[in-house]
Symmetry: C2
Subunit: 196 residues, 2 copies
């Protein structure tokens, strides 16, 4: 039986963690970005398909390429964040299955089935996006995930070959807690769950 | 700045955690299922939309209703697991936004826009599915997430009103580590990420 997480650990990744839009001083190094990925990569995906792809926009130049695609309310959040992670999913993930799932011919489960490819890439790329958020928090970063941007513009600018599609953005840094409003309510167990 | 997670905490939720298909003795109580949800619910979603819905199949009767929809390789995994969570997403999530995101009229961002509703429900319902897996592990459970089932059959059997769609299944219990094979490889940072 596994050990359970400490109370403070549960606070760090879930209970006390918040979505930030304003950032305190503090750089985010490339080494820390690698550590986040190297933790998140262990989260489970269907047939280990691992479709998430991440562009870490850290330079001013990279941020400027994203800026025109952002909805108005997200421009300052992105431009002031130490790093903005552009989380995408690879629609050709199945080409890596001979390495990622070598026990059987898993590539043949997907190749040519566009509907299954999309559902698998989007579902599992989103699962990995959540592992990424949890991993970033586990390593002391604050996150600001966001969906407010023009996906077609971002795809054209950052993924011009069409294989990878943008999923969501996640600002990374050390949040300014003074700018937070109270946490919004969550659905109670009885509203979201049922035991049968 | 947040505290980082302990090394053993990172092991529990990511590095040492594995996907299980065979289960040791040990019941999973309803209280523990509530604790998993009450941790996972804090994970961030777009506009706090929280579209995940969970049916915990715990009784023999509930498992038998699922059984005909399972792919052959998943029948024993499900029928022997203490609990199988059926993770769905609510395509009418926006009806709850006046409560979940009371600062503005967020309902109007979605109502009538089927493409945006689907993308938001599926993306954020999957994010929450990953928070659910991490929360279960944080509370000492082992997980066996699975996609191998007939979605239409499951939707018809468990969500007959058509509002909620099935996303994936997640067996919950205490895994039998003797039955695990070695962990499959993950993509290296350089294969999945780039810093710009």
């Amino acid at each position: 039986m596994s050990k359970i997480l400490s109370d403070s650990g549960m606070d760090t990744i879930f209970r006390q963690a918040r979505t930030f839009g304003t950032w305190a001083e503090g750089d985010v190094s490339e080494v820390l970005l690698q550590a986040v990925y190297d933790l998140a990569k262990f989260g489970p995906t269907s047939a280990n398909c691992s479709p998430m792809r991440v562009l870490f926009l850290r330079s001013r130049e990279a941020k400027e390429r994203l800026k025109p695609a952002l909805s108005e309310g997200n421009v300052t959040k992105v431009m002031t964040a130490p790093v903005t992670a552009l989380i995408g999913y690879d629609m050709e993930f199945y080409e890596k299955l001979p390495d990622l799932f070598p026990h059987t011919d898993a590539r043949s489960w997907f190749a040519g089935d566009d509907e299954k490819i999309f559902a698998t890439a989007f579902r599992n790329g989103s699962l990995q996006g959540a592992y990424f958020i949890v991993a970033a928090r586990a390593l002391g970063l604050d996150c600001g995930p966001m969906s407010g941007f023009d996906e077609d513009m971002v795809n054209a600018e950052f993924f011009p070959d069409g294989k990878v599609k943008s999923n969501f953005l996640c600002n990374l840094g050390y949040g300014d807690p003074g700018k937070l409003r109270d946490r919004s309510p969550r659905l109670a167990f009885e509203q979201a769950c049922e035991v049968l």
